[in-house]
């Protein structure tokens, strides 16, 4: 019985493979268009993965990645026992966590709000304006923030002075660091991030809105009971993927916003890599921290995927 079942399974697989080949042959032009992406993915994303062995080597410029001698887990151990490990790790997780809590829902909210705008010209205007900050580099954004918040003639402190308050060095206030990170991140990314949700909203069946309206649902109830469930799959997938980047707290933004008073809460893994790894040519150490980040992120993605799949029936695989 078992053998027959196995044979049947094998036959089924062969059939499926044949069907796939027939499909590919039939739509070969469309598949041809995927080819450059696959080649790109293989060359730029998969081939460099071989370089992770660098994390286990004592790298020498002349011998290259594969010729350098093995060092085992030496660099990982050096990182874990370094006095800064916990503070750097904690800061990274805190900043990323805050970004997940505040920055992740922001584009969803903006997309829902834009969906409710009935004047198409105004909607397009708002959309365009909200996309623009995405194209401004962090260097310029932080420069603007510095000009606004400087205690020496900045707009913010001029307003405070006109209200009879003393000027403050806001960019250097440790208490203001997280709000500045979150708010600037939202300002820069909310418009661009909303595109994918707007696309998802546009695919929600209009008949569902009509049915809900006939049932007496108001606009808020339509949003809550029709739009949100309609885009929940997209939200779920992006949420899972956002956990993959939990240790990517935003290197350039954080580096530029660092000020002496906030050093203790602003040192993150990426800035640590730059300082200890790249600046001194210790590629192997930088790679070890990078690999640690990747493995940790992978574990988080798998866990989140499992949980989201269990409770919301949405998953990456």
């Amino acid at each position: 019985m078992k053998g027959r079942g196995q044979n049947k399974g094998k036959e089924q697989k062969v059939q499926e493979r044949k069907k796939l080949l027939i499909r590919i042959k039939r739509h070969k032009m469309l598949y041809l268009f995927i080819l450059p992406c696959i080649v790109w993915l293989l060359i730029f994303c998969y081939a460099p993965m071989g370089g992770v062995v660098l994390a286990f080597k004592n790298y020498r410029y002349d011998r290259g990645i594969f010729g350098s001698e093995w060092a085992g887990l030496k660099h990982f151990r050096a990182f874990w026992i370094s006095p800064e490990f916990w503070s750097v790790f904690r800061n990274t997780v805190v900043i990323s966590g805050l970004k997940t809590v505040f920055c992740f829902p922001a584009p969803i909210i903006l997309a829902l709000l834009l969906n409710e705008v009935r004047a198409p010209r105004f909607k397009r205007w708002v959309q365009t304006l909200s996309y623009l900050p995405n194209f401004v580099s962090w260097a310029v954004v932080v420069q603007l923030m510095t000009a606004i918040f400087t205690p020496y003639g900045g707009v913010f402190n001029e307003i405070r002075k006109s209200m009879g308050l003393d000027p403050i060095f806001l960019m250097g206030e440790p208490g203001a660091f997280y709000p500045l990170v979150i708010l600037s991140d939202i300002w820069k990314g909310v418009g661009w991030g909303s595109i994918v949700y707007l696309a998802a909203i546009s695919s929600v069946d209009q008949e569902l809105y009509e049915a809900a309206t006939i049932d007496g649902a108001n606009r808020w109830q339509c949003t809550w009971h029709v739009t949100l469930p309609g885009i929940s799959a997209t939200i779920g997938l992006l949420f899972i993927m956002s956990f993959g980047g939990i240790l990517n707290a935003g290197y350039d933004q954080i580096l530029l916003l660092q000020q002496p008073p906030n050093y203790q809460i602003s040192k993150i893994l990426d800035t640590y890599i730059i300082h200890t790894g790249i600046n001194y040519g210790k590629f192997e150490y930088a790679s070890a921290i990078g690999l640690f980040k990747s493995v940790f992120s992978m574990i988080l993605v798998v866990l989140t995927n499992h949980l989201v799949k269990k409770y919301a029936e949405i998953g990456l695989w």
Binding site: M29, F33, P36, C37, G67, P151, P261, Y263, G281
Partner: protein
């Protein structure tokens, strides 16, 4: 249908080619590795020398105005990386410009320069790691554990840099670069001849005799109207307490800048550069980070109470709104604005920078009463007047190095030898006789009146025009031994004796002083695993993080705690290696009697 297929096929191919566009191979053969500190390259270079010697009889030579012979090459093209962010652009035609053509006609070598557009340390790292290296590199080498120094040393040890120990002495215009007096004893022992280099030398320091050097003109400067308004003679300020009172009075007076905005009391240049000029009075005269304590033991300055008190003074400056709170992360451009508009009442660092900022903003000419003037100079703690202490020869310097893939080391050195000759210097800096320069009665080249007048009308446009012809096209980057004043009576074209009178008088107030003796710092490199130890013990970034955090602490107690935490970290990290190191230094102290602190 067929058309569609062809179009689809072509589009897909184009996309694929586009995706792979950056995957070009490196046509340069990778350098042969050498675990013995570049032995292989040394052999290759010696072989080349032998070839050159053999070619001497039947080769073609160029003889310059002083009779020096240069081997003539057959149109050798070399590349040179100028590893300094923010340098002037290079001439757009690096091969065909007039100066490049003239040099090629004489010695058959052209060097095409390229500026970096990214962080210097990152560029060096990428270059050495990928093996995709130019023929010549000009970069910083500030010594010790600075990024570029660490990377260059690693590259040298790992066979990425050519050993030039046997070559440089053969080139008469370059040979002096390694001589004591041009470089210091410390530089020779701890940088040039590192024990694990096994006798090889990899770097060509760019040096100048003391007469050629410009004084750093470091100090504290105050906006001209401030002392007048407060009735204080700034030259009478000699101690930290006097300076503090002066700054507090200035803060409370209510000065405004040229735009009528409130003033900052004191600021600094990029990232708080040289704020220690405010605290010179905390220490005795010396150049070292070490001192001899009352028990005859070597101490490290950062572990002393003097250091702690100095840092607490900066805390006070921040806390009492005297020092610019943004100065530790500021850029030179922003500092220029603050000084150029007269927003900062006190500045520190180089006097040149302060004067230039006010000149380029127009404040210098439009408001002569606001021109910054020197404060003090302060005294050392023992009451001795401040001088600009220098060692006998440079301690840290920009360098030139030749990567192991240099396609023709002999041509590269011949080129540098030529541009460092008198004739080469005249050609590369002054251009062509009768056209751009003429000789004065002393036989010194001077730019023609026409060019001088153009320069006075528009410095930048004139420089740009000359650069496009190859004149002054970053040739400073190729200058190994500075000799402008010795040979031509001016440091560079157009300069003549046009030194700012304020700067000139400050040079007299704080003159050079050669600090004799054998630097105690030089003893440090003999400590076992010194490089590994130095990377954390003398890491400026970690020190900066602790100290700057302390400056912004809410209270003096908190600031003190942070600073003591750092001192404690230094003493306890790596199982108390610091104490071992200091014991070693004390041991070394007993080995000779001419130590300089």
């Amino acid at each position: 249908m067929r058309k569609k297929r062809v179009t689809a096929l072509l589009t897909a191919c184009a996309l694929m080619v586009g995706a792979l566009a950056g995957c070009g191979g490196n046509s340069t053969a990778p350098a042969e590795s050498s675990s013995a500190g570049g032995e292989t390259q040394k052999q290759e270079v010696n072989a080349e020398n032998a070839d050159a010697a053999a070619a001497e009889d039947d080769g073609e030579y160029y003889v310059d105005m002083d009779g020096t012979r240069y081997k003539k090459f057959d149109d050798v093209r070399l590349t040179m990386l100028i590893c300094w962010v923010g340098k002037d652009p290079v001439a757009s035609d690096q091969y065909g410009n007039e100066v490049a053509t003239a040099i090629r006609d004489r010695i058959g070598v052209t060097v095409e320069k390229e500026n970096v557009t990214m962080n210097e340390a990152e560029k060096l790292n990428m270059m050495f790691a990928s093996g995709d290296m130019p023929d010549i590199v000009d970069c910083a080498y500030w010594g010790g554990t600075s990024s570029e120094t660490t990377i260059v040393n690693k590259a040298a040890r790992e066979g990425r840099v050519t050993d030039i120990s046997d070559l440089v002495p053969q080139y008469e215009n370059l040979a002096d670069a390694w001589k004591l007096g041009y470089v210091s004893q410390r530089f020779i022992e701890t940088e040039l001849d590192q024990p694990d280099f096994n006798g090889a030398r990899y770097i060509l320091p760019k040096v100048a005799s003391l007469n050629e050097q410009e004084l750093g003109a470091y100090g504290v400067f105050v906006r001209g109207d401030v002392p007048e308004a407060l009735g204080i003679d700034p030259t009478t300020i000699k101690t930290t307490d006097q300076l503090w009172d002066f700054m507090v009075k200035a803060r409370d007076y209510g000065f405004t800048d040229v735009n009528g905005n409130d003033c900052i009391v004191a600021t600094a240049w990029h990232n708080g550069n040289k704020i220690t000029e405010f605290t010179q009075n905390f220490y005795e005269k010396g150049r070292s980070n070490y001192f001899l304590d009352e028990n005859g033991k070597i101490g490290y300055r950062t572990l002393s109470d003097d250091w702690l008190n100095e840092q607490l003074f900066f805390w006070k400056m921040i806390h009492e709104n005297v020092l610019d709170k943004e100065c530790f992360t500021t850029s030179d451009e922003r500092a220029n604005e603050k000084v150029g508009n007269g927003t900062a009442l006190f500045t520190c660092g180089r006097y040149h920078a302060t004067i230039d900022a006010t000149k380029s903003s127009g404040l210098y000419d439009a408001h002569p009463e606001l021109r910054y003037v020197p404060v003090g100079p302060l005294n050392y703690r023992d009451g001795e007047p401040l001088t600009e202490l220098v060692s006998e020869g440079t301690d840290s310097t920009p360098i030139i190095l030749f990567p192991s893939t240099c396609s023709n080391i002999e041509a590269a050195l011949t080129y540098l030898n030529y541009v460092n000759s008198r004739e080469g210097r005249i050609l590369t800096r002054y251009g062509f006789e009768g056209d751009t320069f003429e000789y004065n009665e002393d036989g010194q080249p001077r730019m023609t009146e026409e060019w001088v007048s153009r320069y006075q009308n528009n410095q930048q446009a004139t420089r740009d025009e000359l650069r496009e012809r190859g004149i002054n096209d970053l040739f400073d980057q190729c200058t190994v031994i500075g000799k402008g004043k010795e040979l031509f009576g001016e440091s560079e074209p157009f300069m003549g004796d046009n030194m700012d009178p304020y700067l000139k008088s400050y040079w007299e107030m704080r003159p050079f002083e050669v600090w004799p003796g054998y630097p105690i710092d030089a003893a440090a490199s003999g400590f076992e695993n010194y490089q590994e130890f130095a990377q954390w013990a003398f890491d400026g970034s970690t020190a900066g993080e602790y100290t700057q955090r302390a400056y912004f602490a809410d209270s003096e107690e908190e600031a003190r705690e942070i600073l003591e935490e750092y001192q404690n970290y230094l003493m306890t990290n790596d199982n108390g290696k610091m104490q071992e190191f200091l014991d070693y230094m004390t041991e070394q102290y007993g080995t000779r009697d001419d130590w300089a602190f």
